[in-house]
């Protein structure tokens, strides 16, 4: 049986997968925005999933596919939880900057506090509230958002 999925094709897939993984990792390490970091992590996951599918196809069995579907399911669950966490974290500090959480560490370990530098560079909006939303690239019209209990508490 002639299998069109040759090793060269597999190599290409793997290269794309590795590139996705590397980019994701780079993003995770380099960015400080929680949501972007999370997106980067998802990208790493997709790189791995792609490799799995490619291997599955190359070996002519379904295990790679099945594994990938499972991964996707788990990733979806994980995404919902992670986004919930991100919202909670954002409500606490009114910012998505991960360095603001640097004080969650072993007591007594002194490191140069990147959050302070960040604060110097861009002071946090004093009037945290409904107005201070993540500064993502604006796209479209900002929706009307009703006041939610958590924003209520924050005032």
């Amino acid at each position: 049986m002639t299998d069109p999925f040759t090793i060269e094709l597999l190599r290409n897939y793997l290269l794309v997968g590795a590139a996705l993984f590397a980019l994701g990792m780079l993003g995770f390490i380099a960015r400080r925005n929680l949501i972007v970091m999370f997106l980067s992590a998802e990208m790493m996951l997709q790189g791995v999933a792609l490799s799995l599918v490619a291997f599955g196809r190359y070996h002519g069995n379904w295990s790679g596919q099945i594994f990938t579907i499972v991964i996707l399911t788990v990733a979806a669950c994980e995404a919902s939880i992670a986004m919930a966490l991100v919202v909670v974290l954002y409500n606490r500090r009114s910012s998505l900057d991960v360095t603001l959480w640097q004080d969650v560490r072993e007591a007594g370990v002194s490191t140069s506090d990147l959050a302070d530098e960040a604060a110097e560079a861009a002071p946090i909006d004093d009037e945290a509230g409904v107005e201070s939303y993540p500064h993502l690239t604006p796209a479209g019209v900002e929706p009307a958002h009703p006041i939610q209990p958590w924003t209520e508490r924050r005032r």
Partner: protein, 677 residues
């Protein structure tokens, strides 16, 4: 019908266990007398034993269930119903029933009443299981069970330091013996065919012939080692006198009639095995003789009524071992029958004597020191009468039980030198020596028994009073801890003072009378009629024992009777009325008197040697533990803490990116290692 009893012989251990469980779990909640289920269980077990007695056969075994099945070690839960077993079962359950009835009066009002009967039920379960078991390992398991029950019952009043110490002592000394039993079992397991430890395999002719000379000597020796602890022989008898710290019914049941006979039973059961080693038999005889004489000499001067009985028990057990050891050559069968017969009769009259002592103790407000009361025969007529019967039986007066059994033992000892000569053994003369020592011991036995009897029941009446110079110093704090602890416990709830000096209730005197009746009749009913020997013929391995012809020896009977009567007469002259003669004699041989009173300093000797050695060892172990092992463990425990605090915690700096980079690098390094290794 008889087959029914044999098939359901498992009921004999099971019913007392059930009774004990019911007593222990339900008696307090449902407010019924805890003695009833146990007494009922044991009494029913006695009936089953009687039924099984009728159909006992040397090869009758009942497979109840599997127990251990591990590779080549296959041990079934199998019971044996032969002559020896049914004999022991009937005796144990009968005496136990009476003791339980007695105890229901004696222990009345004790806060631990249900616990007491639960333990008694458990004990009868273990003891009947011990004699029913058809292999050495199962016997061993029940042997341990009996030891545990004994421990718990000696320490029944565990708040008293002396009782707790006595319980510990009994348990530890028994452990020493159990080592011997365990070693014997290991050895047997490795040498017998198919690793089958059942009696019919171990004691079969083929197996016995196949044993090496070393095994032939050492296995009986190890079994005898086990028996010395359980049956209180020199040098491991020291626990038994202290065991009197337990309630008196316990002393009567466990430390006189049943448990202490387990060692005798074990040796009797293994007679075909022991008969292979005449040297061990000689050793058994010598140890038994030493024990009998030593304990009798100690009993001469004791003032505690129960202690006199305790040493008397040790002494009589020594008698049984003397007989077992005398079974060389053609005497084997006679010796085994004599030992078992003495065990049988002794159980009745010694239980009787103990219970009568308990009755005295009960009436005297838990005073047991014979110097503090006197002349109780009018106040305690039933106790006095039954005690007298028991004492006469123990002294070996015709025609009571002790006479017949003691006579058989002496007959065996008398025949032993001749049998040893026939077998070309050079030590036959030792048996002649033992024979004369045994007769001397019989004299001593009669003397100390009647010394106790006359001191308690004869002479002008005197009741215990705190003003007595012999009374322990009255210390309101220490008082309840030691001397009167029993009073404190047994008669809590208004059973204290007003009973002093009154005869015990019928529930206590009735068992005494039944036992007294038995002490009179079992001797001539079972002995000279040949009924006892006839029953023992249904025992495994008994057919193989050489049967010599041994006529009833008039000389021995007359000599032993004279010795017994002389002892009684001497005790009467010295103690029937208070006289200064005994103290004058004591003063004239002061060192000997002191030595006997202080139990020949055996306890002190143990303290100086074994105890000091063990305590030194324990202290050294403790030092080693604290200095070496604890330091090592602490060091191991400290390592992760140091590593975490000084090295690793620096890397938990709260920067997610740092963690991510570190993980990525680590994975990269791992991959590189995997790729290029």
């Amino acid at each position: 019908m008889s087959g029914f009893f044999v098939q359901n012989v498992w009921l004999i251990p099971f019913l007392p266990l059930l009774g004990g469980l019911v007593a222990g779990l339900a008696a307090r909640r449902f407010r019924f007398d805890a003695a009833i289920p146990v007494a009922a269980g044991v009494a029913l077990a006695f009936l089953v034993s009687l039924g099984a007695w009728m159909s006992a056969g040397p090869e009758t075994t009942v497979l109840v269930s599997k127990w251990i099945s591990a590779g080549s070690l296959v041990v079934p839960l199998e019971f044996r119903v032969d002559g020896l077993t049914t004999l022991m079962l009937s005796m144990v359950t009968f005496v136990s029933t009476l003791v339980i009835v007695f105890a229901s009066g004696y222990m009345h009002g004790d806060p631990g009443y249900p616990r007491f009967f639960a333990l008694i039920g458990l004990f009868v379960f273990s003891m009947t299981g011990l004699v029913l078991s058809n292999n050495y390992l199962l016997t061993y398991a029940f042997w341990e069970g009996v030891g545990v029950c004994s421990y718990m019952l000696i320490g029944f009043w565990y708040t008293r330091p002396s009782a707790a110490a006595a319980a510990m002592k009994a348990f530890l000394v028994n452990r020493v013996g159990d080592v011997g039993f365990a070693l014997a079992i290991f050895w047997l397991w490795s040498v017998v065919p198919n690793h089958d430890l059942s009696y019919q395999n171990v004691l079969s002719e083929g197996t016995l012939h196949g044993l090496s000379d070393t095994a032939k000597f050492w296995i009986p020796f190890l079994l005898f080692w086990a028996a010395t602890a359980k049956s209180a022989q020199v040098p491991l008898y020291v626990w038994l006198p202290d065991a009197m710290e337990g309630p008196t019914p316990v002393s009567a049941l466990i430390h006189a009639a049943t448990m202490v006979t387990a060692g005798v039973y074990l040796i009797a059961r293994s007679t075909p095995l022991v008969a292979l080693a005449p040297e061990v038999q000689l050793l058994i005889s010598i140890v038994g003789c030493t024990t009998a004489l030593l304990a009798a000499l100690i009993a001469l001067t004791q003032t505690d009524l129960k202690r006199v009985m305790a040493y008397s028990t040790v002494s009589q057990l020594g008698y049984m071992f003397m007989a077992l050891g005398a079974g060389v050559g053609s005497v084997a069968r006679l010796a085994m029958v004599a030992a078992m017969f003495h065990l049988f009769t002794h159980a009745f009259f010694k239980a009787l004597l103990f219970l009568a002592s308990g009755s005295v103790m009960h009436a005297m407000g838990d005073v047991i020191d014979m110097r503090r009361f006197r002349g109780l025969r009018h106040r305690l007529p039933y106790t006095c009468g039954t005690f007298a019967v028991g004492a006469l039986a123990l002294a070996g007066v015709f025609p009571l039980a002790g006479f017949w059994s003691k006579d058989e033992i002496l007959l065996a000892l008398e025949s032993a030198p001749h049998a040893a000569h026939e077998m070309h053994l050079s030590f036959g003369w030792v048996y002649s020596l033992i024979y004369w020592i045994a007769i001397f011991t019989a004299f001593l036995t009669a003397f100390y028994t009647f010394r106790a009897f006359f001191m308690t029941f004869w002479g002008p009446e005197k009741l215990p009073s705190p003003d007595d110079p012999e009374a322990p110093a009255v210390d309101p704090h220490a008082d309840h801890g030691h001397g009167h602890g029993h009073d404190d416990h047994a008669h809590a709830g208004g059973h204290g003072g007003h009973h002093v000096g009154e005869e015990s209730p019928p529930v206590m005197t009735f068992p005494l009378m039944i036992l007294a009746g038995c002490a009179v009749v079992v001797g001539f009913l079972f002995g000279p009629t040949g009924f006892f020997e006839g029953h023992l013929e249904h025992t495994l391995g008994f057919e193989g024992l050489p049967e010599g012809h041994h006529a009833f020896s008039w000389a021995t009977a007359i000599i032993s009777t004279i010795a017994g009567l002389a002892g009684i007469a001497l005790a009467y002259t010295l103690y029937a009325v208070p006289s200064p003669i005994p103290s004058r004699i004591a003063a004239s041989i002061k060192p000997l008197y002191r030595a006997s009173l202080d139990k020949f300093y055996i306890d002190e000797l143990y303290h100086l040697t074994v105890m000091k050695l063990v305590q030194g060892l324990a202290a050294a172990s403790r030092v080693f533990d604290v200095v070496v092992i604890d330091r090592l463990v602490e060091g191991v425990a400290r390592t992760p803490r140091l590593a975490a605090r000084d090295v690793l915690s620096k890397y938990q700096n709260g920067l997610i990116q740092f963690y991510a980079a570190a993980s990525a690098l680590s994975v990269a390094v791992l991959l590189l290692v995997l790729l290029f290794s």
